[in-house]
Point group: C2
Chain length 332, copies 2
Amino acid sequence: MKASTFDINGVFVENTASIVGPKEAEGPLSKYFDKSVKDDLLGQKSHELAEIKFHLSTIRYLINKSGHKENDIDLCISGDLLDEISGTSLTMRELDIPFLGAYNACATFAESLITASVFISSGKFSRIICSTSSHFCTAERQYRFPLELGNQRTPLSQWTVTAAGAVMLNDKPAKVAVKRATLGRVIDLGVTDANDMGACMAPAAADTVCRHFAESGLEPDYYDLIATGDLGVAGSELMKVLAEKRGLKLGLNYNDCGAMIFNRVSQDVGQGGSGAACSSSVFSGFIYKKMLNGELKRVLLVPTGALCSKTSTLQGESIPGIAHAVAFEVNV
Amino acid sequence: MKASTFDINGVFVENTASIVGPKEAEGPLSKYFDKSVKDDLLGQKSHELAEIKFHLSTIRYLINKSGHKENDIDLCISGDLLDEISGTSLTMRELDIPFLGAYNACATFAESLITASVFISSGKFSRIICSTSSHFCTAERQYRFPLELGNQRTPLSQWTVTAAGAVMLNDKPAKVAVKRATLGRVIDLGVTDANDMGACMAPAAADTVCRHFAESGLEPDYYDLIATGDLGVAGSELMKVLAEKRGLKLGLNYNDCGAMIFNRVSQDVGQGGSGAACSSSVFSGFIYKKMLNGELKRVLLVPTGALCSKTSTLQGESIPGIAHAVAFEVNV
């Protein structure tokens, strides 16, 4: 494959927003999220409508807290996990902003950030919102079983994050800049278990991270934090083994947003969090704020996606993965 | 909303490819498609696998006929109508090319062309493939009813095109150039009939086309052809009425890819073709070849998408539409 790592200049994070559900608000990153709700149905008739409300509220909050109006935003590049990204499409009908729908499963946030960064660096766009949502209740019933069945969860399962995260990228200099990116390819090592998303995505994560360092010439300790999106604990360990087989040793600066967002001992979440909003809420909440206060200066975010549908799983297809990497640096 | 029309410089169509099913091969554009097949199952176990084979064969044929290898392609920006664009994801696992998944329903081809054009004009990418697929049998059972039921089709229904279309964009000067684009927003006038896609999408098409002319300062007769994606005959008439209400009168240079691809008198297709591959196969086949031979010099392509899922329809949501416009001109 051609090298797919490239530098990005003149693209900055103007602001972020995150709204999370009750379980996420009980986790270790609680204080970093902008808002949390006590009822994950948000007073709606369905969890799909609740997910739309999460997504719409997060984008509106981001626009408001930044002192803007819808008219100041050039474009939204957004997605979710629902069939036909219908949650995002119905979110966007409430906003008078152009919309491009993205879908790379839980790697969608990376796709959105990279696309927006290239758009801004082209000089044709100034301010773009990148956002994703996910909801435990909509994802479980779509990809696995009706929640009412109360199926026992398998040891390698993960817990879909109920949240929305949104980032406003801009061409005006700000403290945190987008500096480079690596585009991922679809990789399939034959895993067929829709309850073991970490194993489906780890090969793609290892491939993208290894290529990022090979193509950029950087060493892993260049970054204060290398964070995959939602491999969970078991998936992260697998990813480290796969990377080491290719000669890349990841150290203590490697972590996973899915492993970070929940307390596995007390929260009964299997291997940790997952979902399209896992990386977007952890970045918009925890990582961005740690960069603002200077505790993190260089971060490589690698959202990871498992590319399946209920139909492809029922037809016996294995589940390929994809991962894209985006590097953020405190602008000095 | 902010103006969303912008010029594109230095982006050209290097080549196109289209492979269509038997019904499309019997239609009036038959001779313009690169290849057609006699059996729309293509020897596969399921129609989903057949759609993947259409998509993969079209991309591989495009790469081969252009004298390239996978390694020469920077990126694929592609999508389809299947839940989680699983057909495209499984297509991409066979290709060693970076992948960004796009979803704006049947407007996905426009999203892909615009994103690729901005990527190339940023100077970071040279050669990008934009592609979409759709299949009558996968779309009908996903969005409406199992085919085995033999449900009677309603008068306003359309026939999903079975095909894949792919365009290779490049930064090297060629006869046909991408010149400008208008990004669309999500518009919902409250239509709830999933069998009347034309009415769902016409308001978005009218909005994007009206804004294109208002923002570019061009007149409709600047283009030899203004082609919406898949409004069908009734949807196109509705779109013209909506545009005229906003002061834009469309003349004989307006047509619709869905109205063009089938013969409504002899082919029993309701209002005409639809689907994510309707605009991509008609552009890659008919329009591009008419531009190459000089019969068309300036074309505004406006792929149109209906943003629904089976779940959103069953939950009683109305169906919003979106449309993006891309202008191609023969490079003189």
